[in-house]
């Protein structure tokens, strides 16, 4: 993780502090960004392996490699790790920390020590969750949604796992606070709100969601623990409680959390597409505004997870309406990204391929979301494999592919070396093909009526399940190739200096890798983030 870097002086060595403690106690946003990056990547890979095991189990009807209880624990842990340990902290923690302060012309975030504390809270929460898997009644088997009354009754180690998620929530809130303050207070001279890179805008919108929504998750999870330990009966209808109240509380956070996962990904795409088209992003103000609009309106649509729950028809009317309202700013973004390509000079290098495939996969995820938002059609596909497919199109095909794009786009900047292009393109091809086979089959299975979280299934669902599993192997091969090529390149590859992509945002104006202080002198911003003319960019 800490190789010798080619540039004589950079944040890797210019403070003279090396060794593990100089990293895990560093307050430098770039070192914290890399700490986050490697932590979330590690958990991502663990959860990928769990996902592959789930697919192998579902390869054929009946028992394939594990029993029902193991299967239930595995999909629960897969979901908990992917959601709470990878994709929620992933963008703000890793790339937000690495890039955002430089993009606004700051030397660091507003509260560097709080930033380090956020990472430690994250690791503490992660440690508690991992401990929960191996102690008490064994790994939780409730699904990542922890629905009561099952989660209040099961003998598995739900309380400890939920407590770990509770702790991680604080990490997320503190990162959000830190970023909002940083973006308000530490912008360089000339960096007005209309010159903020769109990645920063997306992080800003995300940060508000983190601050406002996460406390509700904390309260909800604390209530689950109280239900289990103290028998409060808040969610137990036999004692005047209400299981549906839990679902409302859970989704009041967890739907906005989807925007924590996708908004920064949209920000990454808004950076990559203009740079690799050498054209200003089309409709800057509309994209920035739509991020804020999605964050705001997205807080009011949680009820669409509950159309079959028995909640009132009036509630369904309102939540279905608001869900369609949220679709509009997402559609605007897609059209604006496509328009950015028009009359550009398009280079299909790895980051751009990930960005363009994001467009396609996110569109499929978004459009299938319309099926789920309409009341009549949601009833049929709710709680089926269709939802699993849809969710993975949005979060893996969307956020995940954007994360891979960001890795290829920004990591060379911080290592001063780059990956080889051809293997990266091959890896992308495998990932893209494998991805579509895996998850498209799931959506078809859902349309045919196969429910989700099914350990076993009727013979009629067998062929598509087998195809989906085979697709997951392609996906896995592509992922391994991607990682091997990327990290081999970062450690031993061709030197990466200057501004090879031709970006106009501030991170491309400073030394590669950046020095600890980022800027030699206070930067003065004189042009917009996508103003490629007159900036001396090749």
């Amino acid at each position: 993780m800490m190789p010798q870097q080619p540039t004589p002086s950079s944040f890797w060595n210019d403070t003279g502090k090396t060794g593990i403690t100089a990293w895990i106690f560093s307050t430098d946003h770039k070192r914290i960004g890399l700490l986050y990056f490697y932590s979330v990547l590690g958990f991502f890979l663990i959860a990928v392996v769990l996902g592959l095991l789930l697919r192998i189990e579902l390869m054929a009807p009946g028992r394939t490699i594990m029993g029902a209880q193991s299967y239930n624990a595995l999909f629960t842990v897969h979901g908990v790790i992917m959601v709470f340990l990878f994709i929620i902290p992933g963008f703000p923690g890793a790339f937000g920390n690495l890039v955002m302060p430089i993009q606004i012309g700051a030397r660091d975030v507003a509260f560097p020590r709080l930033n380090l504390f956020s990472w430690w809270l994250y690791m503490l929460g992660a440690g508690i969750i991992i401990t929960a898997l191996f102690t008490g009644g064994g790994p939780p088997d409730t699904g990542w949604t922890f629905y009561v009354p099952f989660s209040a009754r099961t003998g598995t180690n739900v309380s400890l796992a939920v407590f770990g998620v509770f702790i991680i929530g604080f990490s997320s809130i503190l990162t959000g606070l830190n970023f909002v303050t940083t973006i308000h207070r530490l912008r360089a001279e000339g960096m007005g709100w209309t010159r903020l890179p769109l990645f920063v805008w997306s992080l800003y919108a995300t940060a508000w969601v983190q601050i406002l929504a996460t406390p509700i998750l904390g309260i909800t999870l604390a209530l689950v623990i109280a239900e289990r330990m103290l028998g409060t009966g808040l969610f137990d209808s036999a004692r005047g409680g209400d299981p549906l109240m839990y679902q409302h509380l859970f989704w009041i956070y967890s739907h906005p959390a989807v925007y924590i996962m996708i908004l920064p990904a949209m920000g990454v795409i808004s950076e990559i597409i203009p740079v690799f088209s050498r054209k200003p992003v089309f409709g800057y103000k509309m994209i920035a505004f739509s991020s804020v609009a999605i964050a705001a309106a997205g807080s009011l649509v949680w009820g669409h997870h509950m159309f079959t729950s028995g909640m009132s028809d009036t509630a369904i009317l309102v939540f279905s309406f608001l869900t369609f309202v949220v679709a509009i700013p997402s559609a605007i973004k897609v059209f604006n990204w496509v328009a950015t390509l028009y009359k550009g000079s398009i280079s299909l290098e790895a980051p751009m391929l990930f960005a363009l495939s994001f467009l396609l996969l996110f569109s499929i995820g978004g459009l299938t979301g319309l099926i789920l938002g309409a009341a009549a059609t949601d009833i049929h596909v709710h709680d089926t494999q269709f939802v699993v497919g849809h969710f993975h199109y949005v979060i893996f095909g969307g956020s995940g592919f954007a994360f891979f794009g960001a890795m290829h786009y920004w990591l060379p900047k911080f290592y001063g070396r780059r990956y080889a292009e051809k293997p990266a393109l091959l890896a992308w091809g495998l990932l893209f093909t494998g991805f579509n086979i895996t998850y498209f089959c799931m959506m078809v299975l859902g349309m045919k009526g196969m429910p989700r979280r099914y350990y076993d299934y009727l013979p009629e669902f067998a062929p598509l399940n087998l195809a989906s599993t085979v697709g997951s192997w392609l996906l896995a091969i592509g992922l391994v190739l991607l990682l091997v090529n990327l990290f081999r390149g970062l450690l031993w590859g061709e030197p990466f200096t200057g501004n090879p992509w031709g970006g106009a945002t501030l991170e491309w104006s400073i030394a590669t890798p950046p020095p600890t202080e980022n800027f030699e002198e206070e930067p003065v911003v004189t042009h917009g983030p996508y103003d490629f003319k007159g900036t001396g960019i090749p």
């Binding site: 800057y284 028995g310 279905s320 299909l348 363009l356 299938t368 009549a376 009526g449």
Partner: protein
């Protein structure tokens, strides 16, 4: 059947067609445009961008207004279809579905019970959904009908089978280890056959119950094995006559498994809980006394 009758499938499928149709057009358009631009303006062919246009208020207005109209049409059409799912026809036949971990049981107005949902063809059926333990989901893919079964809450769903046949019935709301095994079928019979089925006495009634059949139908065997393997609950094999350590109010106690203990444990599953197992067995409230006796006799015979 009644030609004016609108089935739930008839109400939902046009909405699917409309939204999927619009989505395919949009996706095709977006994909084709991206591919065309990526090809037409590739750097080897267009080494320099030929435009630096950064916005166009009219174009953006168009692609805000048109999608807004489109999604509002989807919303309204979806809502109208949903209303059909909620408007139970007046002449609908009432059936009560009882869901438990991990089996279904259906009770008809005349007291007839069945592990399968037997319905008459062409006559609407309204199913009242009752849970005896945790959340379950009543899902009929063929009829596009789904409704959660929530403890302590009155939910219902209706549908009508317009053809005779057997249709899948799944539990759609995750409910633990046996979730994917909590499946049964809807059996749609011509009306005359259905009425004959409804009034015929249940097999073995009223003198003697078949304990083995009851154990299967009431869901006992989802958790209690017959072959000695440990599942969610203790196995029935060799259970009768065994000395067993149980927890009464959290205190360990040794009991002999006899008729009285089994009777008590079926009525009040958590009164004396076998050590090492979770207190998750539901109370099976619809069991009659003679049915419990049949179950006890059955367990005694599993050696």
């Amino acid at each position: 059947m009644n030609p004016a009758l609108l089935t739930t499938t008839d109400a939902v499928d046009p909405v699917f067609k409309f939204i999927f149709g619009a989505c395919i057009l949009l996706l095709g358009g977006i994909t084709a445009t991206v591919l065309w631009f990526a090809f037409r303006y590739r750097r080897s062919r267009a080494p320099e961008p030929t435009s630096q246009v950064a916005d166009n208020i009219w174009l953006e207005t168009i692609w805000i207004v048109l999608p807004s109209i489109l999604v509002m049409a989807m919303f309204w059409y979806g809502w109208a279809g949903y209303l059909t799912l909620r408007e139970v026809p007046k002449n609908a036949l009432p059936v009560t579905a009882t869901a438990r971990m991990w089996s279904w049981n259906f009770t008809y107005a005349n007291g007839r019970t069945s592990p399968k949902l037997v319905v008459p063809v062409g006559k609407p059926v309204v199913v009242d959904l009752v849970s005896s333990d945790i959340l379950h989901g009543f899902f009929l893919p063929a009829f596009r009908v789904k409704r959660d079964v929530v403890p302590g809450m009155k939910n219902h769903a209706w549908f009508v089978a317009d053809k005779a046949g057997s249709y899948d019935l799944f539990c759609s709301q995750y409910c633990g280890k046996g979730h994917s095994a909590m499946i049964t079928t809807v059996e749609a019979l011509p009306e005359a056959e259905f009425i004959a089925w409804l009034v015929q006495p249940e097999e073995g009634q009223p003198t003697k119950h078949d304990g083995a059949k009851l154990a299967k139908e009431k869901g006992c065997l989802a958790c209690h094995s017959l072959d000695g393997s440990r599942a969610v609950g203790p196995t029935f094999k060799g259970l009768y006559g065994k000395k067993q350590t149980v927890l009464q109010d959290g205190k360990p106690l040794t009991v002999m498994v006899n008729d009285a203990y089994l009777r008590e444990s079926i009525r009040f599953p958590n009164a004396k809980l076998v050590e090492g197992f979770q207190p998750i067995m539901p109370t099976v409230s619809d069991l009659k006394d003679d049915e419990i006796e049949a179950l006890v006799d059955f367990i005694e015979e599993v050696k």
